[in-house]
Amino acid sequence: MKSSVIVFPGSNCDRDVAVALEKFQIKNQMVWHNETILPKCDLVVLPGGFSYGDYLRTGCIASKSKIINSIIEHVKKGGLVLGICNGFQILIETGLLPGVLLRNKKLKFLSKNVFLKVINTDNRFCSNYKNKDIIKLPIAHNEGNFFADDSLIKKLEDRNLIAFKYCDSQGKVEKISNPNGSSNNIAGILNDKKNILGMMPHPERLIDPILSGEDGSILFTSLLKS
């Protein structure tokens, strides 16, 4: 399996995710946002960080990058795209995923480990979570408050396009376990064809027992299998 991590000015999890991909034998290359042609690959990763300082709107300016058109082509051909944190925000600004990510409800940056319930394991990013559907991953964001109108929420729920929801350690999805105010506790969503995943939590940051957990690894091993 081959991947491309897109590097935008202000990306800061590009190295972290590249390290994770390589740890799980996914052959990765870094691609500068100004390139127009995407190298041949199965998976495109839009990493976390503060592309363009998060100025104007998070992800907005990155979504105007030269590389974006070829990512859209890649999606049309069924290629995989994973957007983590800022990457998720970019996917939304690009229109590849629906909804919008607003400021966290307390208007504060929030960095902590959270529990997630894996809602959809029937996709190429999450298949290995079948055996473990309550997981722990870190979040670290200012704008992760996923907002969508009722009809979009209904569509996401009905078509099972929600990948992760914030929950408590027992897997209960409740308001109290919602760190940022997102609609229906949504932490990550898929597109209709389920070849795009956008998520706020950072799987690449928990891939080693010494880092207080490895629940992130499972996402990468799922990809490898796919």
């Binding site: 800061n12 950072h202 880092l211």
Partner: protein, 731 residues
């Protein structure tokens, strides 16, 4: 234009100093030159009040690669890895504009570290505010915390530790000290010393604006018509540009283009160009028309004294300019050849084809004034009788009061606003004794901590100075690291006052004693004087940033209890010193008396022995005992894993409260498995270390036999949510 006495005064230059300037350059300076002198000769750049004493600090051991004098200190952490670190204050700007002040403080210290060729891998901060009831405190606190986060999070460097303290002495003078730590290759460290003649001097980064122009603030009214418009402004940080600057610099540093590099910090272009040239003992010529400017019609005075952020000055090897320009323009940064090195040993500034300044570099640096300020000994706090009935205070209620106080409660509300896990190498997050960062790709790590000691230092600066160094050392030991070196930020009042100067001199004495004894040298630092408003000075506040090495991460420990049924040992002697303790302060509102003494021999012996126990994997958890004493330390070990403790007081001749809340130094608590208890006892005995086995871990209750038994959940709530309550936030 004639320089009036008023203009000289407004530049903070005394009449003596002005005479010295005339003597040094053989004529009167022009306004631009006066501005340059004022920037270079002020306390911040020249260290004129502190130099004499800073020289007495120990700065060397076998691990030190670069001590004070460069942008940051550098130590050897083996395998060709070097750690680059420094701490710096941004106190005054943060009081005026908490968000931007704190943000640019973080930006500045990060630049100090990557200027030397190191990729920043962690930041820490020490922040001090006035009373929690003071009307300004809430805004200042939330502004500073979001400013620190706003900058560090955007750059993508984890904030791995810090401290926050409240005390009325900071009501009108808050402290914001930021520390940055970077990783470099030992053979690829970059320095600021210029070398070679006719080399290009290059400006990179952001454009220069009228940010924080020093001294000009009031003076400008006299010599400018549109004074209002040119009023200096608060510096606004642009972490995005800094991130680009970081990546661009590190990219350029991969080959041998750079001769020397210096960030533009305080006094911007002035101090950076002068420092580089005077370190190299050569001259420098700058054409100010080449300086990238943000505003129209900026004057040479403004360009030289602007403190716009995110800028660097480089001197490149001949022929490397093109490639360097390519890198900086790829990252969308300004790049301009603004001058060259010369053999004149002078600073020459050209503007509109005219020479607008010409000053011998020595007059600005080596010949800058140095003062031997008068000082007097501090009157140390004496032992007066505490309120008589203190031992009638209910133990459990007292514990609750201490744990739910602003100074002793958990700081999660703060650190959750900082990205702690970016870069994927954060092994111990805030909340433990030290933050631990793994060296990328290896199984070793560095432990990092910042500590200060307001109450102790005010009560007795020498003891306080010693104590804060020892506490830092202890925090590093407690996670299983070998302490290597420190950086320090010395925050004091007005040094022209004998009392304040005395506090300074004595604090340095204490720091020196401890650092020397522990072989824990100072490799970098910063002095912040004049933290004083309306004649009221802050308490003397030395902040120590400590760094230790964990060679094998498998031998690291954390403070949280691991299992039920293990022994709990108090290592080090408890004699029950309650003066200056949190118990006296929070429960009895009693603030008199001396701080606990430190016996450096015991400190070192206890610490090294604990380290030995950790490296032999004989202890399951370790925590040092600091403010609050045994009962607070024990609670902190219980909360994270919800494992309780049941302890019995040893049969010794001190009162209950003294034993449980006393703040005697050099102590640790350790959790030891039954199977190891004999070995551990033997090692402690062999090293003549006093210890007590006070009980065992148990299920979710904190219990002092015959005194109280309380559920952890109940106590933890008080400990965890002080800040949420303070800000009226739902939990």
């Amino acid at each position: 234009m004639k320089i009036s006495t008023e203009i000289i005064n407004k530049h903070g230059i005394s009449s003596e100093e002005y005479k010295k300037i005339i003597h040094l350059i053989g004529r009167e300076p022009n306004l631009l030159e006066l501005g340059i002198f004022s920037a270079m000769w002020n306390e911040h750049c020249s260290y004129k009040s502190s130099k004499k004493y800073l020289k007495t600090l120990p700065t060397k051991n076998v691990k030190v690669i670069q001590g004070p004098g460069e942008n940051a200190g550098v130590i050897d952490i083996e395998d060709n890895d070097a750690l680059v670190f420094k701490i710096e204050s941004h106190n005054h700007p943060s009081f005026i504009e908490p968000y931007q002040g704190a943000a640019t403080g973080v930006g500045g210290i990060l630049r100090d570290v990557f200027t030397m060729g190191a990729r920043p891998i962690a930041t820490l901060n020490s922040i001090h505010f006035g009373d929690t009831s003071h009307p300004k405190t809430k805004n200042l606190l939330s502004g500073v915390v979001s400013g620190i986060g706003g900058y560090g999070n955007c750059i993508g460097v984890p904030t791995i530790g810090g401290e926050v303290k409240f005390n009325s002495s900071y009501n009108e003078n808050i402290l914001v000290n930021a520390m940055a730590v970077g990783l470099a290759k030992k053979n690829k460290i970059f320095y600021s010393k210029a070398e070679g003649i006719n080399k290009s001097v290059i400006y990179v980064g952001s454009k220069t604006g009228r940010d924080g122009i020093h001294g000009a603030s009031m003076a400008s009214a006299e010599f400018d018509d549109n004074a209002e418009e040119k009023k200096p402004t608060v510096q606004v940080g642009d972490p995005f540009t800094e991130k680009l600057l970081l990546e661009a610099c590190l990219e350029l540093m991969k080959d041998d283009s750079i001769i020397s590099i210096q960030d533009m910090g305080a006094a911007g272009l002035t101090s950076s160009s002068i420092e580089m040239a005077s370190k190299g003992n050569i001259g420098i010529e700058i054409n100010l028309n080449k300086v990238p400017c943000r505003e129209k019609n900026m004057t040479p005075y403004e360009m030289m004294l602007s403190e716009s952020q995110e800028r660097m000055l480089l001197i490149l090897n001949s022929g490397k300019e093109k490639n360097a320009e390519k890198i900086f323009s790829k990252w969308g940064l300004d790049f301009s050849v603004i001058g060259k090195t010369t053999n004149t040993k002078n600073l020459v500034l050209i503007f509109d084809k005219k020479e607008v300044a010409n000053l011998p570099l020595n007059s600005l640096s080596k010949d800058a004034p140095v003062y031997d300020r008068k000082w007097k000994k501090s009157i140390n706090s004496k032992k007066i009788d505490p309120p008589k009935d203190f031992y009638n205070k209910d133990l459990y209620e007292s514990l609750k009061i201490v744990l739910s106080s602003a100074n002793n409660s958990e700081k999660n509300w703060i650190w959750e606003q900082y990205d702690q896990t970016v870069m994927g190498d954060s092994i111990q997050l805030p909340g433990g004794d030290s933050g631990v960062i793994r060296i990328h790709g290896k199984n070793k790590g560095v432990a990092l901590t910042v500590d200060s000691s307001t109450h102790y230092c005010l009560a007795n600066p020498i003891v306080g100075g010693k104590q804060v160094v020892c506490e830092s050392w202890r925090n590093l030991i407690a996670v299983g690291s070998t302490p290597i070196a420190i950086t320090n930020c010395l925050n004091f009042g007005n040094p022209e006052k004998e009392k304040i100067m005395g506090q300074f001199v004595e604090t340095i004495d204490g720091i020196t004693q401890a650092c020397t004894y522990l072989d824990y040298p100072v490799v970098s630092g910063n002095v912040s004087f004049y933290n004083e408003t309306k004649n009221k000075s802050i308490s003397p506040t030395p902040t120590i940033g400590g760094v230790g090495l964990i060679k094998n991460l498998n031998n690291m420990v954390t403070k949280n209890f691991k299992e039920i049924g293990n022994h709990i040992l108090i290592i080090g002697k408890t004699s029950g010193h309650l003066y200056q303790s949190e118990f006296f302060r929070e429960v009895l509102d009693f603030k008199e008396g001396p701080p606990p003494e430190i016996n450096l021999f015991n400190e070192k012996n206890n610490g090294l022995t604990v380290l030995n126990l950790i490296s032999k994997q004989l202890v399951n958890s370790v925590h040092d005992i600091s403010s609050g004493g045994i009962l607070v330390a024990l609670s902190e070990m219980c909360f994270p894993s919800k494992i309780g403790a049941k302890i019995t007081l040893p049969k010794i001749n001190i009162k209950l409260h003294e034993y449980l809340f006393g703040e005697d130094q050099s102590r640790y608590i350790a959790e030891v498995k039954e199977e190891n208890i004999e070995k551990v006892s033997r090692i402690l005995n062999d090293n003549s270390i006093y210890f007590e086995n006070i009980g065992k871990t148990q299920e979710k209750y904190m219990e002092v036999k015959n005194e109280f038994k309380a559920s952890l959940d109940e106590i933890e709530k008080l400990y965890k949510y002080w800040f949420h309550n303070y800000f009226g936030e739902s939990i």
